[in-house]
């Protein structure tokens, strides 16, 4: 292998890592919601889309960089998540699985429609982002926005892991995820935990959206590009496992870019989805899921 292809390969591996960390951040919210209440949120990509639009409007109306408005975006999406839980999810907790799938599915279509109605179907980009251009590290060219985004994703995912494992509230959330009834007997209000899971899940997706907004086009159906990948990450990592989603995100990012590198970009999605099927069939509980 020539030196040039080696550099290209290294470049590919690093870009896989960078996008994989974003996938991980999107997936931790999804896996948290699933772990706590066994509901698959098909509208998760739309939370990401809302995060992107929040960043876009902050930048174009108030000239605030997505990185500055990030805490606000996170809070806003937290509120959206809690609202969705209170208005819709709470009522379908005991419903048949089909109703649960279609409730979040309908929300997905509804939110896409609303975004299209309010903000037009155009592709938009954040004007004058704070982080721009490229830097060279060890002979590899790295996009600064991508690098910033992946660092942000690591921080937030790590922060969530710390919250779930090291704080009282987070442990209560974990307890609900492991055994809802036992947790209730211990005096944990599961209703409150469900709302919290939705809030945090949506906020994670929103933060991922804000981080992506500086280098990814923003449009109403952008969530579709990420939701299937997020499912793959959740399944590979093991439903409900935040640490699993982190590692699975990186693996999926690598499979995607290396598949694109060796097989051809047109097939990278098919490869990721094939990985998904293999995991579903041969190890449905994923890398670090509960047995």
């Amino acid at each position: 292998m020539t030196h040039l292809t080696m550099t290209m390969l290294a470049q590919t591996i690093v870009s896989g890592l960078m996008i994989g960390l974003i996938y991980a951040l999107i997936a931790v919210g999804l896996t948290l919601i699933f772990g706590v209440m066994d509901i698959v949120n098909f509208a998760h990509g739309e939370f990401l889309m809302l995060g992107m639009y929040a960043s876009f409007w902050g930048a174009s109306l108030f000239f605030l960089d997505p990185l500055f408005t990030l805490p606000l975006t996170a809070l806003m999406l937290f509120a959206v998540g809690v609202l969705v839980y209170r208005l819709v999810i709470r009522r379908i907790l005991a419903a048949p699985m089909l109703s649960q799938i279609f409730a979040t599915f309908g929300m997905m279509i509804l939110l896409r429609g609303l975004a299209q109605f309010l903000w037009k179907p155009d592709h938009r980009t954040v004007p004058h982002a704070l982080v721009e251009g490229k830097i060279t590290l060890f002979g590899l060219q790295l996009g600064t926005p991508q690098l910033t985004a992946s660092l942000g994703a690591v921080l937030v995912t790590g922060g969530l892991w710390w919250f779930l494992n090291r704080t009282r509230l987070g442990t209560a959330l974990e307890a609900t995820s492991i055994d809802r009834e036992a947790a209730t007997l211990m005096g944990i209000n599961s209703e409150r935990m469900f709302a919290l899971a939705w809030g945090i899940g949506a906020a994670c997706a929103g933060i991922a959206g804000a981080l992506l907004s500086t280098y990814f086009p923003i449009f109403p159906e952008v969530g579709a590009d990420f939701i299937l990948v997020a499912f793959v990450v959740v399944v590979l990592g093991g439903f409900g496992s935040v640490a699993g989603a982190f590692w699975a995100g990186i693996i999926v990012g690598e499979v995607e870019v290396l598949g694109g590198f060796f097989v051809g970009p047109a097939y990278k999605n098919a490869l990721v989805l094939s990985l998904f099927l293999l995991v579903l069939l041969f190890r449905p509980r994923g890398l670090m899921g509960k047995a």
Partner: protein, 335 residues
């Protein structure tokens, strides 16, 4: 037979007669086209319902069978000059074979996992077909218009023949549903759906009956795909393999009422009506209003009426019978 059953039978017969005579009375092309869309949607909903409703295996990837049907007959017609009627059967057979192939491993999965696996399989097939040059990839296939008439299933002057083909397919699908539901297989379906563990402990081979369901469902769905191809005379991955199509197929049954014979027909009527009216009122381009209404309805149905429209009607029927002090009818028989 009590009075309500009699009324339902007469009503059913009346609907069938009206349907048969519809294109003779209503000749406006837009209205005929509207009716064809409803019949085609209903047929797909009924086909999906065999797997998703009766056997309780939620598929979110039915477009893959539809696409196989459309592509098989189109490739055979465009490249080999084969009649679409034979193409329709070939498409059904290939779709059934593919269904058995994916059903065998996937039926070990439960609930969400099965739904997500079907979603993934359909997405993979869409990517593969989009990059497959032999079937013209993303460009799509234009069907030959030379063989106009019933033999070639191409009708250029009037759409009415498509109406009767769609109606025939719908009746065939209803018949297959009915036969499966009333035969011993139907009881196994219910057992699988209501309590798979108990069914297994009684020695029922769950996998075998699920495979029957997916094969029948795939065959009928593929036949619908061929009809679509012949009606539009053009197919591409976006029109016959899209993920949104899979969702729509499932939605028709869910809206109308999962696991009931005529629920999907009612669902198709409501769904296509909503689609067409929002398109006419708000226009179709880029406003997103159709999606808002569509999504809103799905959420509301999921939240307040998991049994769909047929579920509501079934409840009214039971209430009516209860008032008349007639025998109790078990839930699930719907309209």
């Amino acid at each position: 037979m009590d009075r309500l059953t009699l009324v339902k039978r007469i009503l059913g017969l009346a609907v069938l007669i009206v349907a048969l005579g519809f294109p003779l009375i209503v000749t406006q092309p837009t209205m005929v086209n509207f009716a064809i869309l409803i019949l085609m949607a209903a047929q797909l909903g009924v086909a999906w319902n065999i797997l998703g409703g009766y056997a309780g295996q939620v598929s979110l990837g039915h477009a893959v069978f539809y696409g196989i049907g459309a592509y098989t007959s189109s490739v055979l017609a465009a490249k080999f000059g084969l009649s679409p009627w034979l193409g329709m059967l070939a498409g059904g057979a290939i779709a059934s074979g593919f269904a058995l192939l994916i059903g065998w491993p996937c039926f070990r999965l439960k609930g969400h996992y099965f739904a997500m696996a079907t979603l993934a399989i359909a997405a993979i097939v869409e990517v593969l077909v989009t990059n497959w040059d032999y079937v013209e990839g993303a460009i799509g296939i234009y069907l030959p218009m030379t063989n106009s008439g019933w033999a070639g299933m191409v009708f250029t002057r009037s759409k009415t023949p498509y109406f009767y083909i769609a109606l025939g397919l719908l009746l065939l699908s209803l018949l297959v549903s009915r036969i499966l539901q009333k035969s011993y297989i139907g009881y196994y379906f219910r057992a699988i759906k209501e309590d798979p563990d108990a069914a297994r402990s009684l020695g029922i081979n769950l996998a075998r009956y699920k495979l029957v369901a997916i094969a029948a469902s795939a065959f009928l769905t593929a036949m619908g795909g061929t009809l679509y191809a012949q009606k539009e005379l053009f197919i591409d991955p976006g029109s016959v393999l899209a993920g949104s199509l899979s969702i729509k197929i499932a939605l028709i049954a869910i809206l109308g009422g999962v696991g009931t014979l005529f629920g999907p027909v009612v669902g198709a009527l409501v769904l296509i009506a909503i689609e067409e009216f929002t398109r006419q009122i708000f226009g179709s381009t880029g406003m997103g209003t159709d999606m808002i209404i569509y999504g809103g309805i799905i959420v509301i149905i999921a939240m307040f009426s998991p049994g769909g429209i047929a579920g509501l009607l079934g409840e009214w029927e039971r209430a009516w019978r209860a008032r008349r002090k007639l025998v109790y009818t078990p839930p699930g028989d719907g309209i």
